[in-house]
């Protein structure tokens, strides 16, 4: 597509990182969210949670310092920051479902204007699908941010009135950060809060499957 420049995956992650408050307990999902740890603003400490039982993950391990008993939910060897702790998987998800985590940042196939999330299965795809921790995390976390491209590769909106992909959770998404904009899910629908450089509200509306307010 010969369109205007959109934010890169790293730039989306960097924009989402600015949504995280200092001292927050945060879970990062697969995909773009997993890049966020590398883009925290200076002076901010965030305690990253991993559903295999870690609070306080630091940067990824460098070659030579990997310990394969210390991995994140994507199997990547990580490090710890001071104040970290270990616990078993049931307590890790007690934290997700029980509303103890401040923020979760998840990837998505579709988000509806009411904040319904679809991120675990593509309709018609072969195989069993893969839920992982997404349903628990989406259902319980105080604030859910979705990071994704604004449209599919063939230009279809991923922000829609009603999800057509298999649902992960009803009405759970609070904020959507894309390569074009930042949107908040409100009781009155989607509110456009920020635009990627060079993009207008009208252009973003054109690529969104639900009405936006400004």
């Amino acid at each position: 597509m010969s369109e205007k420049q959109r934010l890169s995956r790293d730039q989306i992650a960097a924009r989402a990182a600015r949504e995280l408050p200092d001292g927050a307990f945060v879970n990062l999902g697969w995909g773009i969210p997993n890049l966020i740890a590398d883009h925290l603003p200076a002076g901010i400490t965030v305690y990253f949670h991993s559903e295999n039982g870690i609070l306080g993950m630091g940067r990824r391990a460098k070659p030579g310092e990997e310990d394969f008993d210390l991995v994140d939910a994507m199997k990547v060897p990580v490090t710890l920051i001071p104040g970290a702790s270990f616990f078993h998987q049931a307590d890790a998800h007690l934290m997700t479902r029980g509303g103890h985590l401040d923020v979760a940042v998840l990837g998505a196939f579709q988000v509806s204007e009411r904040g319904d999330l679809a991120n675990w299965k593509v309709p018609g795809a072969k195989g069993a699908g893969a839920i992982g921790g997404a349903m628990d995390i989406a259902a319980g976390t105080k604030r859910v941010i979705v990071c994704m491209e604004h449209t599919t590769r063939d230009g279809q909106p991923k922000i829609v009135r009603q999800c057509t992909y298999p649902l992960t959770c009803l009405a759970c998404v609070d904020t959507i950060v894309t390569d074009l904009a930042v949107l908040d899910v409100t009781e009155r629908g989607l509110l456009l809060r920020d635009l990627a450089p060079g993009w207008s509200a009208a252009e973003v509306q054109q690529r969104t499957g639900a009405p936006l307010s400004f």
Binding site: I54, Q89, L94, R97, I131, M135, G140, L170
Partner: protein
């Protein structure tokens, strides 16, 4: 008192018979009882129901039991992109799967461990997971009824055991292991080292010996 310490891996799995329901610990390549899994392949026990986070990774974790055709049904949260042996059997209709949200998988096992007969949760409401489950409204929230997951055996991986079966774990290799140890009727732990009773500080025991029935020393096999 009969010792829980088994001389070999094959002895540790010698009471498992066809049709058994077995929980397998491990997540993200860490904390898998890979030696016990190999012993079960040697034993050849069939018609197994497996309960585990994922469905094997390349040649490791549960994959040998899918290759050998020993697993008939699995309850899992995340089959995994590299669960090739599972994917093949599943596509051929030789293995069935119940896909469960990961935290609900944990909690259903914890319910079994705790003697609870079920619980209501908002997780999975209005999704494929809710199919066939009782739904009600509590305090204005839609929720579904989830039932306990029991097992005949848990295969777990711990770091140290004392002679009684008090267990410690290493870093994030803990993951599902303590929950499965509590939930199964018989728990078999493969450990890096057995130390004398009293050598583990009671304050650092993660899985108390009451949950552990068999212990076998085996140096961890890791599939990266």
């Amino acid at each position: 008192m009969k010792s829980k310490i088994c001389v070999t891996l094959d002895v540790a799995v010698d009471s498992i018979s066809d049709g058994a329901r077995i929980m397998f610990g491990g997540f993200g390549g860490s904390g898998f009882p890979n030696n016990l899994i190999q012993a079960l392949v040697r034993r050849g026990t069939k018609e197994l129901t497996a309960i585990s986070n994922n469905c094997g990774t390349r040649d490791g974790e549960l994959s040998p039991l899918f290759k050998s055709g020993q697993i008939r049904h699995i309850i899992a949260a995340f089959p995994g992109p590299h669960s090739f042996a599972f994917q093949e059997r599943h596509a051929a209709g030789e293995v069935t799967i119940e896909l469960v949200p990961q935290g609900i998988l944990c909690e259903r096992m914890r319910a079994a461990a705790a003697g609870l007969l079920g619980f209501y949760t908002t997780v999975g409401v209005a999704t494929e997971v809710a199919a066939g489950k009782e739904e009600r409204v509590i305090n204005g929230q839609r929720c579904i009824l989830e039932m306990p997951i029991h097992a005949d055996f848990a295969f777990i991986k711990a770091d140290k055991s004392d002679g009684l079966g008090n267990l410690t774990y290493r870093l994030a290799a803990r993951n599902f292991n303590p929950i499965m140890a509590m939930a199964a009727a018989t728990t078999i732990a493969e450990v890096e080292e057995v130390v004398p009773v009293g050598a583990i500080d009671p304050e650092v025991v993660v899985t108390p010996a009451i949950f552990v029935h068999r212990v076998v020393v085996a140096k961890g096999i890791r599939y990266v």
